[in-house]
Amino acid sequence: MAETLLRAQSIHKSFVGVHALKDVSFSIRRGEIHCLAGENGSGKSTLIKIISGVYTPDAGHIEFDGHRYSRITPIEAINLGIQVIYQDFSIFPNLTVMENLALNTELAANRKLVNWKRIRRVAEEALAKINVRIDLDAYVGSLSVAEKQIIAISRALMFNTKLIIMDEPTTALTKKEVRNLFAIILQLKERGIATLFVSHKLNEVFEISENFTILRSGELVATGSTKDLDDKKFSYYMTGRTFESRRFVPKTVSKDPIFEADRVGIPGSFEDVSFALHGGEIIGITGLLDSGRTELALSMFGMKPIREGEFRVDGTKVELTSPRAAINHGIGYVPEDRLSEGLFLPRSIGDNIVITELDSLTKKFGIVDAERRDEEIRTWVGNLAIATPDPDNACQTLSGGNQQRVVLAKWLANSPRILILNGPTVGVDIGSKHDIHTILQELANEGMGIIIITDDLPEVVENCSKILVMKNGRIVAKLDAEEADEQKILSYML
């Protein structure tokens, strides 16, 4: 069965002078689970688009199922048995599960009329193939992310599929859902369907894939068996740098807590949460996606005001009823989703940096003091080493890591005393991740109180001096950094 299904041979691709891919070759066997990894901009999405026929390579060719192709169209790719599951799943939230499952095959068969009986049958069969049950008449928009993904996968399987490409499939899934997904991928393997999945999460690469390919700046840096891969090698391949992990040890911790939660709760989301944050500390709050950690984070920033208990800043009770109120109490919040919550992508880097402190940069009548504004922008672009030729450029021109720095700058510019970060390094490449951790540790050492909310356990262990584990809306464990390790945290989480 070790027959090769897909071979990409010396693929080159460039866009207006930029080499996106340089001489990339790799192969996948029938039924193999293969992980394609690389930082943002490494060329992995270009490679996927070439395999699925969206782009044509400038040089090189693809061999699939024993045939050689120098170029294929998306339709040909589908007919060959290549299916891509995009991050947004390409679903129709306004249509029912049934239609979402069946539309593609109906279209492929070039049917003009709709036979609802056949559509129902097709949809039932599709779900039966991977042994899942979802209400066929439910609207897809009302389903969970995992269910949407299952629909996208089972839809892909309805064709004579030989290779499924999944673009970062685990990003929005809970641990349990990730396990279900992996179970499905293994099922596919048994049926001889190969999976190529794109990820930059280390633990996933180890857990599921047999082989890996890593790209960096458009070049292939390593390909081979996952067995030969370890943490250090992985991050070296990804970044070309070696990192030393240093555990954070607080230098100066303030005597009194600067921020306290006292039995706070929102019925239905979380309850009875208490902790104290001292200046100079980094507290990690971790838990599964549905543990209530996100709601807790939002409540500390006033986005979802608490209904029970109280928050205290410097020992005084505060009403955090809106983000503005939180900001006025010296709280900053780096949101979970940088793209949709953190940044005004089409606006300039400068605009993004000064937005939270704009009111303090004004003269009379709310006139913005242009000099102070520019000064402030220059300072932060320098301080956080944001790589840009001009802060007037739009934020969307920056890489993921630099964008995350702009989000940080936006909050640091407001000189908060308490900084809450929700998933500070989600979607950030390893190099920038390391830099962001360094910045956070320095800030803590300067006396800021920091709370990190994340399910990235190595991140928690490396950076936090105190760790709170949440489960089902409650704090189930409070650990000190010395006694914590990933296994232990995990055991409380699950």
Binding site: F15, S322, P323, A326, Y333, I355, G366, I367
Partner: protein, 339 residues
């Protein structure tokens, strides 16, 4: 400096603000065309004064719609708000009219003050619907516009209200230094205020950011509800002032005056380079689009053989043409930056 570099520089200036330059070029071409064909009839002081007295009506309303559109919304209630204001003020003016047919000295400042308050109140109503009740702006303002017009109809039965002192109309139709129409002054004052708000104040920056992404704006601690309410209030004030100018220009108020203005104003705003999805657009583009419309319409009137209705054809054609041009220039941009 050699010609190619000059050309490049010109190109750079053009690209820096494509919409504005495109409009300037169109205006210039039209002015040249008018100079060649109808110089004597078009280039008269009185002609320009008349234009300057006419365009503030819909010009003011366009400014309001522009603000709403920058936040990602739209204000379709401007004409309704303008008519309701002018009818209410017409009733007030009837009561203030003295036996000799004049007006007391305080009357005009009073009606303007009240008009501004009314406009703000109408705008606040829209703002509440949009921000607190989360009704999509296009529906909320369509509904409130219908409601305002409905109240006008119910109050007047569709008749014109005109039996008030001519002193009001005379005052507004005055010219400063015998040159500049009062209508133009009112428009200019509002335009300068809005320009100032948009480009110099924190409010303006926030408005653009809110239009770019309401979610990020909320996460950045902007009081989005208040910003929306303020914006629709300013739009309401613009509309109310537009109504007061209509009241002066027609010397009467009626529920169905200016009904074509709603779509015309949206057209102006889009042509002026304001993005219908929010976050982008400048007042100079909108002002140029207003002027262009007026010049086209008045210029066309100088050709008695050509029906003035062609203006509508030209206007729609220009809008679609500009959108298509944008499509090509923006697609070219995407292609070069896409990696």
């Amino acid at each position: 400096m050699t010609t190619p570099t000059l050309l490049k520089k010109a190109q750079g200036i053009y690209r820096s603000d494509r919409h504005v330059w495109r409009l300037i070029i169109m205006i210039a071409l039209w002015l040249i065309f008018m100079a060649i064909t109808r110089f004597r009839k078009f280039y008269t002081l009185i002609n320009f004064q008349t234009m300057a007295a006419q365009f503030p009506e819909f010009g003011l309303m366009s400014l309001g719609i522009m603000l709403a559109m920058i936040t990602g919304g739209i204000d379709l209630s401007v004409v309704g708000a303008a008519n309701l204001t002018s009818i209410l003020m017409a009733f007030l003016l009837i009561n203030l009219t003295t036996a000799t047919g004049g007006l007391p000295a305080y009357a005009i400042p009073l009606v303007f003050l009240l008009a501004i308050l009314l406009g703000a109140a109408f705008g606040l109503f829209n703002g509440l619907l949009v921000s607190k009740f989360h009704i999509p702006p296009i529906l909320a303002t369509m509904g409130s516009g219908e409601l305002f017009t409905g109240i006008c109809m119910a109050m007047t039965n569709g008749n014109a209200i005109s039996k008030f002192s001519r002193a009001y109309s005379r005052a507004i139709n005055n010219r400063l230094f015998d040159m500049i129409p009062v209508q133009l002054i009112i428009f200019t004052v509002m335009a300068v205020i809005i320009w100032f708000l948009l480009s110099k104040t924190a409010y303006g920056s926030k408005l653009y950011l809110l239009g770019t992404s309401p979610t990020v704006a909320r996460f950045s601690g902007l009081k989005t509800d208040r910003l929306l309410m303020q914006t629709y209030m300013i739009s309401g004030i613009c509309a109310a002032l537009g109504g007061m100018i209509m009241l002066a220009n027609y010397n009467s108020a009626r529920a169905d005056y200016g009904t074509v203005y709603t779509l015309q104003c949206v057209l102006i705003v889009v042509l002026g380079g304001v993005s219908p999805v929010g976050g982008r657009g400048k007042i100079n583009g909108v002002v140029l689009a207003i002027i262009l419309l007026r010049l086209l319409e008045t210029g066309l009137n100088r050709f008695p053989k050509i029906s003035s209705y062609y203006i509508s054809l030209i206007w729609g054609g220009v809008l679609i043409l500009v959108m298509v041009l944008n499509y090509f220039t923006e697609n070219a941009k995407v292609k070069t930056t896409n990696t």
